[in-house]
């Protein structure tokens, strides 16, 4: 079968894309410390921890988790992080955000804060903390361009490791009701024979997806 016929017969591009994706291993752990459940008028807010000096939880990852938790059959209303943090400025800034549930209890004594949280209908605050690290970079790719054309030759690979924790605080009882941890690792490869072909492990995307699915079930009390 010629390539053109092969493509014409509808070889799905998504399958090709899938074949070009490297493998990822994801582990999710759940530690429950209290009962959970959420009413339809209630919401959650997912916030990234940014107190560390070595890393900050990326806003994109927090948004990814929020977006996935708010869809599907067990969809939960999620207040966007930026909207919540701006609305409650300066109480949830990196320097001032509550680190323990007792800090949240003290913070809720501020009438302005309590009113805003009630206005949003926030039942749970989820603190996401973690990062993706790239290690074991090996190989090299050389590219050259000449009058007759150009091309690359070589091989590169690296390993990505995403580690994220989500701590769930119940705003009604000022208690930490549980922690969900996700660890995703994957090796990416870029072989290059004339054209570089990236085989990228979607490590952070898988960590986001796994964490969001588990978090949705956890909050719904499933």
């Amino acid at each position: 079968m010629s390539t053109s016929k092969f493509v014409r017969q509808g070889f799905p591009l998504w399958l090709l894309a899938g074949l070009l994706t490297a493998c990822t291993t994801t582990t999710v752990d759940e530690f429950r410390q209290g009962e959970t459940g959420i009413e339809s008028h209630e919401a959650i807010v997912i916030l990234g921890r940014r107190q560390g000096s070595t890393y900050e939880t990326r806003e994109e990852f927090v948004n990814c988790v929020g977006e996935r938790v708010s869809r599907g059959s067990g969809a939960i209303r999620v207040i966007p992080e930026k909207e919540f943090v701006d609305s409650l400025f300066p109480w949830f800034e990196p320097r001032t955000a509550p680190l323990r549930t007792s800090d949240l209890q003290a913070l809720m004594e501020e009438q302005v804060v309590a009113d805003k949280i009630e206005e949003y209908g926030v039942r749970y605050i989820v603190w996401v903390d973690g990062q993706t690290e790239t290690t074991n970079r090996t190989g090299s790719i050389s590219c050259a361009v000449g009058p007759g054309g150009g091309g690359c030759f070589g091989f590169g690979s690296w390993e990505d490791d995403s580690n994220f924790d989500a701590r769930v605080w119940d705003v009604s009882s000022f208690a930490n009701v549980g922690t969900i941890s996700t660890d995703a690792t994957g090796q990416s490869y870029v072989p290059a024979v004339v054209v570089p072909i990236p085989l990228i492990a979607r490590v952070e995307a898988n960590a986001c997806s796994s964490l969001a699915t588990q978090l949705q079930q956890f909050v719904n009390g499933d």
């Binding site: 900050e56 701006d86 300066p90």
Partner: protein, 219 residues
């Protein structure tokens, strides 16, 4: 005939001169410092208002604050103007903290404005850390302020130092200017947050607030 040739020569010479000047200008602009006016937006604090009237005096140095980052050879690399964004931040922050805020053009206007005190901040130090120099993957800005609270007659009430820090990752940024802008806005946001929550805890300010509270309750 000769006249025509002469005119053509003159035109050609002029064109060459113009091209040479443009070329020189292009070279000079490539070597010159890149200028940046910091722009950002700041949220309004959700805090209880202090039932006092405050005069806000931002002097010329703060309003036109310019930081110049130099290369290792001492040439100007980046000129960062953050005066106007400071004005915007303070103008947004203080009306959320005090019952009434009046912007003063001069310290001499304080008594006539009938304010309880005048707040006059100044920038003491501004530091910028660029990824190409630090080998880190983020832009960082660190600013040291001297905060002054004065009576309407210019008398000392409080004087304290506040520092602010802002950082933004390189990832997703299209230019160095964008990184400097984001890090500066982040530092100003940090200042706004720190100032809002620490204002009442500065010992001299706390005493002054308590004394004003007594005056108000005795009236």
């Amino acid at each position: 005939m000769f006249a025509v040739t002469g005119n053509r020569k003159t035109t050609a010479t002029r064109s060459l001169r113009v091209l040479a000047v443009l070329g020189m200008l292009a070279l000079l602009s490539a070597c010159g410092a890149s200028s940046l006016v910091v722009e950002g937006s700041y949220p309004t604090p959700a805090v209880r208002k202090i039932p006092l009237s405050l005069g806000l005096y931002l002097d010329e140095n703060l309003r036109n604050f310019l930081y110049i980052e130099y290369t290792e050879t001492g040439a100007e690399e980046y000129r960062v103007s953050s005066g106007q964004t400071h004005v915007q931040m303070f103008s947004n922050l203080l009306p959320a903290m005090f019952e009434r805020v009046q912007v003063l053009e001069s310290m001499d206007d304080a008594a006539a404005a009938g304010v309880d005190a005048v707040f006059a901040p100044s920038i003491e130090e501004f530091q910028l850390a660029l990824p190409q120099k630090t080998r880190l993957d983020s832009y960082e800005v660190w600013v040291k302020y001297n905060m002054r609270l004065l009576g309407p007659d210019g008398a000392y009430i409080a004087d304290w130092v506040l520092t602010s820090y802002g950082k933004t990752p390189m990832e997703g940024l299209l230019s160095v200017e964008g990184g400097i802008n984001e890090a500066t806005v982040s530092a100003l946001r940090d200042l706004a947050s720190n100032f809002t929550l620490s204002f009442g805890a500065v010992p001299e300010v706390r005493d002054w607030l308590a004394s004003r509270q007594n005056v108000v309750s005795n009236q």
